[in-house]
């Protein structure tokens, strides 16, 4: 049987939500648009906030923090996700990526959280936008 090699690196888009570092694999991201000072884009566009998807409330004042819009590929569709800046591209080595601990995996209510990652001396969550 041919031995499958694991990729040594994973490229992700990273941003913060209420002190939690959130990472999305880069291949899901179709585009990123800065929403500018008014935090507005095309009015007709259906937006979803990351806070809504993760069930978090944020005290972030919309007027103070710039936002970005991530267009994410989710299977056959697209999800327009509003996130707070800064949004960064990070490269994670395989040893910085961890599966969910058993008890956490069995109790977590958000199937989109698929792994954990060591980032900036903290633990971040890797989310799969197809499972939001």
């Amino acid at each position: 049987m041919e031995k499958q090699l694991l990729p040594a690196m994973l490229e992700c888009i990273s941003f913060k939500v209420a002190d939690t570092e959130v990472l999305i694999e880069r291949h899901h991201v179709l585009s990123m648009i800065s929403m500018g000072k008014n935090n507005r884009v095309n009015d007709g566009l259906k937006l979803t906030t990351i806070e809504e998807l993760l069930g978090l409330t944020t005290i972030t004042d919309l007027a103070e923090h710039k936002k970005s819009l991530l267009a994410l590929s989710i299977g056959n569709g697209q999800l327009n996700l509003e996130v707070s800046d800064p949004v960064e591209l990070v490269t994670l080595t395989a040893e910085k990526i961890h599966p969910l601990p058993i008890l956490l995996a069995s109790r977590i209510k958000l199937p989109s959280i698929c792994a954990l990652a060591e980032i900036n001396n903290a633990m971040g969550i890797i989310v799969d936008p197809c499972k939001f």
Binding site: V17, D19, T20, L54, G55, L56, E95, H98, P101, I102, L103, L104, S106, R107, I108, K109, L110, I113, L116, E118, A122, M123, I125
Partner: protein, 187 residues
């Protein structure tokens, strides 16, 4: 052996014998203890949750993490799952055992939030407790079966009970706690 040595030895033996006959405890007593080195002992990690003392058997605790160990929040978890810790590159969940056992708020005062790294045959996890009282070897004979008067929420998780420093200590079962927690029990 000279007669003087014999006299000295017998005096020592007499003293030891007298103390043993007086029923001096090998554990938890005053300064005049006599230790029976042949007695079977078990290791316990004794900790507090509020004003109650609990313990895990030493074999189920692999580490007591230093105070202030960073716990990282993970969204979507029940309130009793505080987050995750990074123990030298191994990521472990952290359970708030007070919440799991449904202890009341008043019993959770003065917490130092110490995390014990607990393990069962199939999994491991951090367990946050208020304070670690002691890690001790206690004689097996002072350990007793649990009584029927224990609260319903705690009873399934109690292995044994004992008295330590004049305080009741409830020995909890890591395996059952983890198994039930995995199956969705506890808020």
């Amino acid at each position: 052996m000279t007669s003087q040595e014999q006299t000295q030895q017998s005096t020592l033996e007499k003293i030891l014998l007298k103390k043993q006959q007086a029923g001096v405890s090998t554990f938890g007593g005053g300064s005049n203890q006599v230790v029976d080195v042949n007695e079977k002992v078990v290791k316990l990690v004794i900790f507090s949750l509020g004003d109650q003392w609990y313990a895990f058997y030493g074999e189920s605790i692999s580490e007591i993490l230093p105070k202030g160990t960073m716990i990282f929040f993970v969204p979507g978890c029940p309130p009793s799952l505080t987050g995750v810790i990074n123990v030298r590159g191994e990521i472990e969940s952290v359970i708030n055992i007070s919440m799991f056992l449904k202890l009341t708020e008043s019993e959770q005062a003065e917490s130092q939030n110490i995390v014990l790294l607990a393990k069962s045959p199939v999994m491991s996890s951090g367990v946050s407790v208020d304070k670690v009282i002691d890690v001790v070897d206690v004689p097996e004979r002072i350990i007793q079966s649990p009584t029927n008067t224990l609260p319903d929420d705690i009873r399934p998780y109690v292995l044994d009970v004992l008295e330590f420093r004049s305080q009741a200590v409830t020995v909890l079962d890591v395996n059952t706690i983890f198994k039930d927690y995995q199956q969705g029990l506890g808020s």
